[in-house]
Amino acid sequence: MELLKEKWPGKIAEITIGATNAEGGTRASKITVGGETTLPFLFHEGDMPNMPRIAMEVLDTEPVDWPEVLKKPFGDALKDPAKWAVKCQDEFKAEIICVKLAGTHPDFGNKSAEDSAKLIKDVLQAVKVPLIILGSGDDEKDNIVLSKVSQAAKGERCLLGDATEKNYKTLTASCLADGHNIIAESPIDINIAKQANILISEMGFPLDKIVINPTIGALGYGMEYAYSIMERARYAALIDDKMLSMPFIAFIGQEAWRAKEAKTLFSQAPEWGEEESRGILWEASTAACMLQAGADILVMRHPKAVDVTRGYIGKLMGNK
């Protein structure tokens, strides 16, 4: 019996993060994601030329709400973003570093744009892998900080974010001027995802430099909702909706470690089992689901969860 196969006319855009010396940057490696012509891992229907990649998260300030089990692997490096990034690259084999400038938020440190620009330069010096750089989520401050940071990283072809449909102009202009890719964020809404992409592209920004952050929920916190939105967007892309044909970025770590199931101490809930593996499993399970939904870049936190997920990707890609 012959297998019924779907023929998709569309293709996800391929985007490359990081620029080598030859390309005007200073990265030792570059990463390409996207390019799918099928639903995730359905190799008999189409191709998935680039495997999903994992970025490890680094914050510009020492994290305050991370549980011990999450802090432990990084030790003192948490106090110095550059060291932290090096540890992720060398020890945990991170292929991409995602720097979140959380401390620039007016309510949580209010660090200046200049300090952030310097920090990014330091990280770029310290590691050789490509960077993702995120603002704090405060629109006004992000517009100031990210344009400085973008200049500081000019030519490195980073991935900067997040642009929202309400606040996209400044960041789009910066990324365009300094040769970066951009993350377009939408609140688990396929229409707004598309609208944000249209608005950004109408400023002359190339479609193959946009990554969609669909916003996700962790296991038990709306993960299936995120899944269905991503699935719908991917269907639309594969039937050739150019405004949705971008790779996805999924912020697994921040969502999974927000769950009380991941954070609660053993002493507080002994019936949930020991805390050492609980959070890690929570993060890895969320990641597995998002891979199946079509995530191309996973931003994660715990090295063990990263390890497990990397193994999982390897197995899935092995079927190719």
Partner: protein, 642 residues
């Protein structure tokens, strides 16, 4: 208790109120209308007045600018009377009764409409050649009865009936006891010459009025469209079928809430239903009064009134409690209302004159859309037709003579000029056309070419389309602060575009469009487009497969189809398919007033229409959200808009 006297300018109406009374309530009591859409909550800022003289207290509000404050502007609803006052009501706060301007001339006459008036001889109803027969709700016939003799001793009542039957071939089924009681004396005093008004009450014909002499030439009726935001009436000569005049006015119920839901909630408050009922009856009576006075028609010669309106409006008109309309499972008290005496509802025409309401389809699709279907002749044609009635309660009908479906979309009053900062109805002084030149200045055309006072629905459609084309506005409806013009500015933390500067306007302030206005219009157009899209999709059809698209609504004299497509209010299909029909509900109401036989058609239509409840359709919300973009999130649906 201390009394204070208030004089309202320019009407010079006065009233005495107790000290400390609320100024807005005092104005209402004095019969002075002041705009207010929030119902006196101090929110909408529409009840601006100027205190010329006297003592008062007013609460501070952001709705009054510092310049206005210097000139003694205040919000009537936040002001209490502290002494004798002279209060000036500026034009923008006033209710202007106005003609909706020769509606006849501009409305494209549709095939299947009532044929043009023919000569009617001697008040005798004639059978028309058109699709609708001439059979007004109330007909007057003149009868000269043979005097009774010993040989012809049949009773007065039977004599009258016999005469009418033999002369006019009309079988009378009944007459009121009151008429019979008066009959003996009346016939003898009038020398056996009387005019009889016959009314159609559902399946029967009854004697409504008997008058001495021959007044059969004077028989008039008024057709109404009772909209959530606008009430329009048309005076018609029931013999000649001629339209004598049309008037439109703001529905006074707006004082108690902008949309039907707020009003239903208000109706449950103490005396709320009565106040809503009186508000609309006042509207109708003042329209009837002005029309009859203008055309020298005696109120007693107005014998019939026909109304079309959404289900809630009909409930309020008849003072039927609308509470259950908004409670699950959303059932109205009556969609088919029998013909009643107009006086029972408080309408002032001949005391025994009739009031008929066009039947509705469901709780949220009323007689107005049924009237629209009749007016456009959709139920007679093979052609697949979509009728979009763009009002506060947007209603959409779809089908042809074989089948019909409908749905309603809560569009809000933005296209009628409410809920937007410089909005107004399509009356004199309203900006109805806008073009934006290369220097990003707006060139406007107003109704009656008078000095601009505000922007009406068609003006907003032009304005948004132009702003989008000139990149003053982005596709999500935000203004482009980087556009090279000083006309975009930030005021009170919000971006706005100046359409007409203060010195060229007659309202005393800059006519602007704010981002929040655009947001409101975006929601309105999104609600209408998405409702139409879902309705069409329900039948596995696409917009391209539709033969005709009729657009109805109070847009005034003009609607630019191209611009309406550009902003995504209308689908991007062959422009030849579109026809702007004006107030189709009012036209339908008039047709049925003139041809009661058509009421049967309306009833059939109402029964035939399948109501599609959008809120039950899981795809609706998604389609709505994707419509909240100019023209649409799925740009490929609008290939001609670039």
């Amino acid at each position: 208790m201390e009394k204070c006297k208030i004089i309202f300018k320019p009407s010079n109406k006065t009233i005495e109120v107790r000290k400390g009374a609320d100024l807005l309530a005092s104005a209402v009591a004095a019969g002075v209308y002041i705009n207010s859409s929030c119902g006196g909550e101090g929110v909408c800022g529409r009840c601006k007045v100027v205190i010329k003289k006297g003592k008062f207290q007013t609460e501070p509000t952001g709705r009054i600018t510092p310049e206005e404050k210097k000139k003694n502007f205040c919000l009537a609803c936040l002001t209490t009377v502290e002494g004798n006052l002279e209060v000036y009501i500026p034009p923008q706060s006033r209710l202007e009764l106005d003609k909706t301007k020769k509606e006849q001339a501009r409305v494209y006459r549709l095939k299947g409409l009532y044929s043009e008036s023919a000569e009617v001889d001697k008040g005798k109803p004639i059978i028309d050649e058109g699709i609708f027969t001439h059979s007004p709700v109330s007909t007057k016939v003149y009868a000269e009865l043979p005097r009774p003799t010993l040989n012809d001793s049949v009773s007065d009542y039977e004599r009258l009936i016999r005469e009418i039957k033999s002369k006019y071939k009309i079988s009378i089924m009944q007459a009121g006891l009151r008429n019979i009681r008066r009959l003996g004396a009346l016939l003898r005093h009038s020398d056996w010459k009387v005019t009889v008004t016959l009314g159609k009450r559902n399946e029967t014909t009854e004697i409504v009025i008997i008058e001495p002499g021959n007044t059969s030439k004077q028989n008039y009726g008024v057709a109404f469209d009772i909209g959530t935001t606008t009430v329009s009436g048309q005076l018609v000569d029931l013999n000649t079928k001629k339209v004598l005049g049309t008037k439109g006015t703001h529905n006074k119920q707006v004082m108690f809430g902008d949309d039907v839901i707020t009003r239903i909630m208000f109706a449950t408050e103490e005396s709320g239903l009565e106040r809503l009922h009186h508000a609309v009856i006042d509207n109708m009576n003042s329209i009837i009064k002005e029309l009859t006075e203008e055309h020298g028609v005696a109120l007693n010669n107005v014998t019939g009134v026909m109304c079309a309106g959404n289900t809630t409006m009909m409930h309020l008109l008849l003072r039927v409690d609308p509470t259950y309309i908004r409670k699950e499972p959303y059932v109205s008290t009556a969609n088919f209302v029998p013909v009643i005496r107009a006086a029972e509802s408080g309408i002032k025409i001949h005391p025994r004159g009739l009031l008929a309401c066009i039947p509705g389809v469901s709780t949220y699709v009323g007689g107005d859309i049924v009237a629209g279907v009749i007016a456009c002749g959709i139920d007679n044609e093979e052609a697949l037709t979509l009728l979009l009635d763009i009002g506060t309660n947007g209603e959409i009908a779809f089908g042809n003579k074989e089948w019909m479906a409908c749905c309603s979309a809560s569009a809000g009053p933005a296209f009628e000029g409410s809920g937007v900062s410089c909005g107004m109805r399509a009356i004199k002084g309203a900006i109805e056309r806008v073009e934006i030149d290369a220097k990003l200045n707006a060139k406007v055309k107003t109704i009656a070419n008078s000095k601009p006072m505000g922007i009406c629905g068609s003006g907003y459609i032009d304005l948004l389309a132009q702003m989008l084309k000139k990149d003053i506005m982005k596709r999500d409806g935000r203004l482009n602060a980087d556009a090279k013009t000083k006309k975009i500015r930030k005021k009170d933390g919000e971006l706005e575009y100046v359409v007409v500067p203060k010195n060229k306007a007659c309202c005393g302030y800059d006519i602007v469009i704010k981002e929040s206005d655009i947001e409101n219009i975006k929601r309105s157009k999104g609600a209408i487009f998405s409702a139409a899209a879902i309705l069409v999709k329900k039948f596995n059809l696409t917009f391209d497969q539709i033969d005709k698209i009729y657009i109805a609504g109070g847009f005034g004299t003009y609607l630019d189809i191209e611009n309406a497509v550009t902003i995504g209010l209308l689908p991007d299909v062959d422009r030849k398919k579109f026809k702007f029909v004006g107030n189709s509900s009012l036209i339908g109401s008039r047709e049925i007033l003139l041809s009661y036989d058509t009421m049967k058609k309306a009833e059939d239509t109402a029964r035939k229409m399948t109501y599609v409840e959008l809120s039950k359709d899981p795809a609706y919300m998604d389609e709505y959200i994707s419509s909240l973009f100019f023209p649409h999130t799925n740009l490929e649906k609008f290939p001609s808009v670039k």
